[in-house]
């Protein structure tokens, strides 16, 4: 019988996408639908002196115009995570209004919404809204935001800090160990701000049904239930059972579509006010100005080594921007998704990280593919390679010296880190060995030496990462400040004919759940994939869910489905035993049948299903039906890991970097569909390469974004990158039923430091020890110049 787990099954969702039949939010038209446009602030920091909508209100096709005065949204959009000060003070959490009231705190902040009969007319009228501002000085750099006298983002507090937090060992002990260290490597740099740039811009349609007193919100989100919860319980205070949130096809998320945005809440509110559906689709400039950004850490770090190159201590201080308001997960990103990974794959005995998280006059910073882990990995992997150079040890060798030894989490316990977590299973040496082998590392070093003689600048960069995925055990994250549980729901409904509908709270926005989930469901039930449908993205169909981010869909969402399958098989066995007139314990289930062991008596899954719904001859006391829903709350995070190696050539004349090769050996635990895992790695790698070489959000002194379009924000293109060479090792996750760890973010986590390490390596013989990301031709050339 055909099985599907581990097979490169082609995706069933592809036909509709390839024919142009995908259903993205902006593709939806509702009867009577209106369109909206926002009036947005051109200032980063300003006082609103007056708003005059009179002219706009009389413009052609205008249905309504609302400003903060109209009372939209009692509470504003909430933050879902609380990280308090290390001295015990509560996190400073400003209200995030749906429309700015008195003060503007970032460019692009909405001041008014204009609703009209067509998109064109809404935009025309929006131009007629007259807002007068008094511009104020702005601060966009998280470090400068903490300097005395810096412009304040929120007047109610004495400075711009949202919190000041630390993790790890006692600071004094870490400092003392650094004092005594044989060698200390130090780095100061910026893990710069990037814009997520899902190619589908955010899009929402809110539809209030007057007769049913119900709302439907169509939204391009990664987590419809979470949006419903935040919208109902916090932003608008409306009854949750009267709101349906629908998220059909979503054109990429990368984190940016996790959060509950002001526009979602405002449209929902406005739809009731006007009694008609309202649509808004972001344009690209609005996306740059209002989608939550990623990264933006200013880092100062010291790592100490003994005379054998073993790490003895690691101390880091960071300033991590929050932006003007706290986005849904923002406080978690530079803290619990970041500091907890400071162990990396090394046996570092003493670690201390301090994070000051200031408000800045910018759009919010929140989770962006990898969320906190890429920033941790960048730091560890850059500093390891820098230290290797300083100590004249090969960078691969230095890593081998410091790796945590292999452990499978079953025979040996998990690895307890200095930063709160216990790793599940790992074999870090194996992925580095394999990565070096894939590259031909020793041969490369010879080629490099030869190339240098001819003035050619070749470099290789290694990164050996670990990440925390499968987010997350609710009690653990609750203790760390999460205001939600991070379980997942899997509902399996066996239809009377034995066909199976699976409802998952996870959400696919490119990951291929409709295929991958059907693969393991079909295998576990011993039925054909054609008999399994996966339903997601609709709160009226799916009981509950926490959505897709943090590489959690399979490890958490998949596990919830497995739990329901177990319940179905358990109940099915009772029915089968009754029908076969055998004892339950004498049955075995395989290939879609319950068989009486040692006989040829059997009953098929389909017959049992039919019996469950036509319970004429049925076990006494057993409920009819075959339909189970389960919540799965993981017992631990999962910890994928891997080695990424980049080879670059630097043009000595212009400083331009060409990525020649990229090798990725990842361990994501068990693999359900290798084709899809490879695809996730490819995409993640190129996103990480984008940060390393091309992408950067730049603000000028007034807080204006200099990179608000594709004319100024450099996205990686097909000819910027080579084919990605991938391979895997497999260390199963010991604590979830599929043994999976997650693959969605790995690529973006490992790749960035590999590329920058390679560029620095290419220039190391010239005396270059570090270059600020993105390593643009200009920065590389200036680094070379500075050593002349």
């Amino acid at each position: 019988m055909e099985t599907f787990i581990g097979q490169p099954v082609k995706r069933r969702e592809d036909d509709r996408f390839l024919k142009g039949a995908g259903k993205y939010t902006d593709d939806i038209k509702l009867p009577g639908m209106t369109h909206s446009a926002f009036v947005r602030s051109p200032y980063a920091h300003a006082r609103i002196l007056s708003i005059d909508t009179s002219k706009a209100k009389t413009a052609e096709g205008v249905v309504a115009i609302y400003t903060a005065e109209d009372g939209c949204g009692a509470f504003g959009v909430p933050c879902g995570w609380q990280v308090d000060f290390k001295n015990g003070e509560t996190m400073r959490e400003p209200q995030h209004p749906l429309l700015a009231k008195d003060k503007i705190r970032h460019v692009g902040e909405a001041v008014a919404i204009v609703i009209a009969e067509t998109q064109e007319l809404a935009r025309d009228a929006a131009e007629l809204v007259q807002v007068s501002y008094e511009g104020l000085p702005a601060v966009t750099c998280p470090k400068k935001a903490m300097e005395p006298g810096a412009p304040k983002v929120h007047d109610e507090w004495e400075d711009n800090a949202s919190f000041d937090w630390c993790i790890g060992n006692d600071r004094a002990a870490v400092e003392a160990a650094l004092e005594k260290a044989h060698h200390v490597t130090e780095m100061t740099y910026k893990n710069h701000r990037v814009a997520p740039n899902a190619i589908e811009p955010r899009s929402y349609i809110a539809d209030y049904d007057v007769n049913g007193d119900k709302w439907t919100l169509y939204t391009s989100t990664q987590n419809p239930h979470l949006i419903r919860l935040l919208l109902c319980a916090f932003a608008l205070g409306i009854p949750e059972h009267k709101v349906r949130v629908v998220s059909y096809d979503v054109g990429g998320g990368f984190g940016s579509k996790i959060y509950h945005y002001t526009e979602e809440a405002l449209l929902t509110w406005a739809s009731k006010e006007i009694g008609r559906p309202v649509k808004w689709t972001s344009d690209r400039t609005e996306a740059f100005l209002t989608d939550a950004h990623g990264r933006d850490h200013i880092v100062h770090s010291k790592m100490g080594f003994d005379k054998d190159g073993k790490i003895v201590a690691h101390l880091t201080d960071e300033y991590c921007a929050m932006g003007a308001y706290l986005s849904t997960f923002a406080p978690a990103v530079p803290t619990y998704l970041h500091g907890t990974l400071f162990q990396g794959v090394y046996t570092t005995p003493l670690i201390h990280l301090n994070v000051v998280a200031p408000f800045t006059h910018t759009v919010a910073v929140d989770a962006y593919r990898g969320a906190g882990r890429p920033e941790a990995t960048y730091l560890l992997e850059r500093i390891m390679s820098k230290a290797a150079k300083e100590m004249a040890i090969d960078p691969a060798e230095l890593r081998f010296k410091n790796f945590i030894p292999p452990f499978d989490g079953v025979k040996e316990p998990g690895y307890q880190t200095q930063v709160a977590l216990q790793y599940d299973s790992g074999n870090y040496e194996a992925v580095l060995k394999r990565g070096l082998e894939m590259l031909g590392y020793e041969d490369f070093r010879m080629d490099q030496a030869e190339a240098r003689k001819n003035g050619k600048l070749l470099g290789v960069g290694i990164s050996t990462y670990i990440e925390g995925c499968g987010i997350a055990p609710s009690a653990v994250v609750g203790a760390l400040g999460a205001r939600a549980g991070l379980y997942e729901v899997g509902h399996v409904r066996v239809q009377p004919t034995g066909k199976v509908s699976v409802f998952t709270g996870a959400h696919s926005h490119g990951q291929g759940h409709e295929t991958v989930f059907a693969q393991f469901v079909a295998d576990k039930l011993g039925i054909s994939m054609d008999d399994v449908d996966i339903v997601h993205g609709d709160t009226d169909q799916v009981a509950f869910g926490m959505g897709t981010y943090g590489s959690r869909s399979l490890s958490v969402g998949g596990s919830a489905i497995i739990k329901s399958i177990d319940k179905i098989l358990e109940k099915g066995a009772k029915i089968a035993a009754h029908k076969l007139e055998a004892a339950e314990e004498d049955l075995e289930y395989a290939e879609g049948k319950w068989k009486v062991k040692g006989t040829d008596k059997s009953i098929s899954f389909g017959d049992v299903s039919l019996t469950a719904y036509v319970p004429h001859d049925y076990p006494e006391g057993l409920e009819p039906g075959l339909d189970f829903s389960s919540f799965y709350d993981p017992t631990n995070f999962t910890y994928p890991f891997g080695t990424h190696i980049a080879v670059v050539e630097v043009c000595a004349d212009t400083g331009k970097v060409t990525l020649q090769r990229f090798v990725a050996c990842d361990d994501v635990g068990n693999v359900m569909n290798p084709m899809i895992v490879d695809g996730q790695i490819h995409g993640g790698v190129v996103q990480g390469v984008g940060q390393a070489l091309l992408e950067e959000v730049v603000f000028d002194g007034e807080g204006q974004m200099a990179t608000g379009s594709y004319m100024d924000y450099a996205m990686p293109r097909a000819d910027d990158v080579p084919m990605i060479e991938t391979d895997r090792t497999t260390t199963p996750c010991p604590h979830n039923p599929l043994g999976v760890k997650g693959a969605g973010e790995a690529g973006a986590i490992g790749s960035t430091p590999a590329v920058v390490n390679a560029v620095v390596d290419a220039l190391s013989h010239l005396g270059v020890t570090d270059i600020q990301m993105p390593v643009t031709p200009q920065r590389v050339w200036k680094a070379m110049q500075s050593k002349k």
Binding site: Q119, E120, R123, D124, E127, D283, T285, D653, T654, K656, L694, E696, V698, A706, T707, Y710, M711, D712, Y713, A714, M715, D720, T776, P777, Q778, W781, K782
Partner: protein
């Protein structure tokens, strides 16, 4: 994103286009491919009241050989120019530059006339028309005239075209030995520096785009040229409006100009 309202008119001849321009003056804009203008209109940075579409005017989309010259009609798309055997054979430098403009889709719609009239200081064509000593053929209320490339570009997005003038063709002398080098800005892929070099006998003519607000002939390079790349050191001599942005500040842009000029000089040798 949607442009502000405008009136759309289609000109069926050059003279009709000119009279429409005469009628609407500053309120009107010509459109051919529209690949610079339409995005600007969508961002509402450009808001013409009348858009005059000249794309369908017969006779403006042909490439001909006239004696020692290749004449490219203003409405020829970049793809059409790129695929022209005449261009590839007799003004290969134009082929080299055009094949690096934008991307396939943009080359399929953008036109030589539109590109020159728009006069983006980072676009590719200016360097080439300058180095080739091409002539921009224009027609307006006062009749036809021919503008030397060196007199055509007056500043950022500013040309010698009168309000009622329309580019009809660009006349390139045949070039036996010419080359175009480009270092592109990684987001827009416009030129940070674009250098066209044409060698005639012992002399070289060098056009530079992307570096200054106005594309220029690098006369200091031309004067210092002695058969090798060394004259590239003079690539920005006398240029006082070197552009600067987060991709390339003045210092780096000047350096790149020298690097690209050197490459070009070495290539034409």
């Amino acid at each position: 994103m949607i442009p502000a309202k405008f009136e759309y008119k289609r000109a069926s001849s050059v003279s009709e286009a000119i009279s429409m321009l005469g009628e609407h003056g500053m309120d009107a804009k010509l459109v051919s491919g529209g690949h610079s203008l339409v995005p600007a209109m969508k961002l509402r940075m450009s808001r013409p009241e009348v858009l005059i579409d000249i794309k369908r005017i017969p006779g403006l989309d042909i490439i001909t050989e006239e004696g020692n010259e290749i004449v490219i009609g203003a409405n020829c798309t970049h793809t059409q120019v790129m695929r022209s055997e005449l261009v590839q054979k007799d003004v290969n430098i134009v082929y080299q530059a055009v094949s690096r403009i934008g991307d396939i889709q943009i080359r399929n719609r953008g036109t030589i006339g539109g590109s020159l009239a728009h006069a983006d200081p980072s676009s590719d064509y200016p360097a080439v028309v300058l180095a080739c000593d091409a002539k921009i053929e224009v027609e307006g209320g006062n009749g036809k005239r021919s503008i030397d490339a060196k007199d055509f570009f007056l500043g950022i997005f500013t040309t010698a075209l009168e309000e009622d003038e329309i580019i009809t063709a660009v006349r390139f002398p045949k070039v036996a030995n010419g080359t175009y080098f480009k270092f592109y800005q990684s987001a827009s892929r416009f030129a940070v520096v674009g250098v066209a070099a044409v060698k005639e006998g012992d002399h070289v003519k060098v056009g530079v785009t992307g570096v200054a607000g106005t594309p220029y002939r690098a006369t200091a390079v031309e004067n210092a040229y002695s058969g090798n790349g060394d004259a590239a050191e003079h690539a920005v001599d006398g240029i006082d409006d070197i552009m600067s942005d987060h991709f390339a500040d003045e210092e780096y842009r000047a350096h790149l100009a020298k690097v690209m000029v050197r490459k070009a000089l070495e290539a034409v040798n």
